[in-house]
């Protein structure tokens, strides 16, 4: 089986869509899980994952080969998530000005209320930044250095964000009573 680095160089130098497809097959689960945990909305997360992979295809030549490919991919995913958040915030502000609530928005809220898991409760007490860092660390298994590269934060800040996140979870829940979900 080819290494990620090999597939990346094939995709970049030969514009090989099949090589990129193989990379998507390998990492789609991680990226989609990451975005689902960040956004809390499965459908929106999958749309974002599509955008993320298309951005990754456009920016693939910027992957230097230092660090893991999944770390680089999650950086693209996080950037895509933040961009979309900024856009939807602007859109929501416009709608708010004209006194509208979108149908999609109300549907999302309804879905979220129905399917709240323990993990959703944990994630809810965290800030967006803490959530991203904690998910990268505990769900995706990225090292502090990789998270630092993905979020453009110094390693020390990543450590303190994780510490703060754990502290919040600890003070709000007795995590030993919870099972994963």
């Amino acid at each position: 089986m080819r290494e990620d680095h090999e597939l990346v160089s094939r995709a970049v130098s030969l514009q090989d869509a099949a090589a990129f497809g193989e990379l998507v097959r390998r990492h789609q689960s991680h990226v989609r899980n990451f975005l689902r945990k960040l956004s809390g909305d499965f459908t929106a997360a999958d749309d974002l994952a599509q955008d993320c992979f298309m951005h990754a295809w456009d920016k693939l030549h910027t992957y230097s080969g230092r660090g893991s490919f999944i770390g680089w991919l999650l950086k693209v995913a996080y950037t895509t998530f933040l961009q979309s958040k900024r856009k939807s915030k602007r859109y929501a502000e416009i709608l708010e000005q004209v006194g509208h609530v979108t149908e999609a928005e109300s549907r999302t809220h309804a879905m979220q209320a129905d399917e709240v898991t323990d993990l959703d409760r944990f994630l809810a007490v965290l800030s967006e930044e803490e959530r991203a860092v904690m998910v990268m660390s505990y769900a995706c298994g990225l090292s502090h250095r990789e998270i630092s590269e993905a979020t453009a934060m110094p390693v020390g800040t990543v450590k303190s964000v994780i510490f703060r996140g754990k502290e919040k979870i600890r003070t709000n829940f007795d995590i030993k009573d919870h099972q994963h979900g």
């Binding site: 869509a17 998507v24 097959r25 754990k166 979900g181």
Partner: protein, 119 residues
């Protein structure tokens, strides 16, 4: 004694980390055609990129055909004047230049338009 405390603290931290890992863990998401869909989008994008230049060149050629043909006719007429008037440019060539410039601008706009469509 101190090292025992540090070891215990590390073990506690590790236990907590392991617990958090299990809490954050989730089942792998089935591909269900996701990667095939991305691959298709990538192929379509590649195809569009490959088409941009030839299509733009074709459009540019169609637009600039008339002025170019005029210019060629003019140049062909000039050959009869060589060598006496080889350094002289007839004033009729100059009016063709705005058309050529417009053709080039349209070519560039077509390329940008196709790029925008592709995006």
């Amino acid at each position: 004694m101190t090292s025992k405390i540090i070891n215990m603290a590390e073990r506690l931290k590790d236990d907590e980390d392991r617990l958090l890992e299990s809490l954050f863990a989730s089942a792998p998401i089935a591909d269900d055609g996701f990667s095939t869909m991305i691959e298709k989008r990538v192929r379509r994008q590649l195809w569009l990129r490959r088409m941009v230049l030839p299509v733009a060149a074709l459009v540019g050629a169609i637009i600039s055909f008339k002025p170019l043909a005029g210019l060629v006719t003019m140049l062909a007429g000039l050959t009869t004047l060589i060598p006496q008037d080889v350094l002289k440019v007839p004033s009729d060539v100059v009016p063709q230049l705005p058309m050529l410039f417009m053709g080039a601008m349209l070519l560039a706009m077509c390329m940008l338009g196709l790029r925008a469509l592709q995006e």
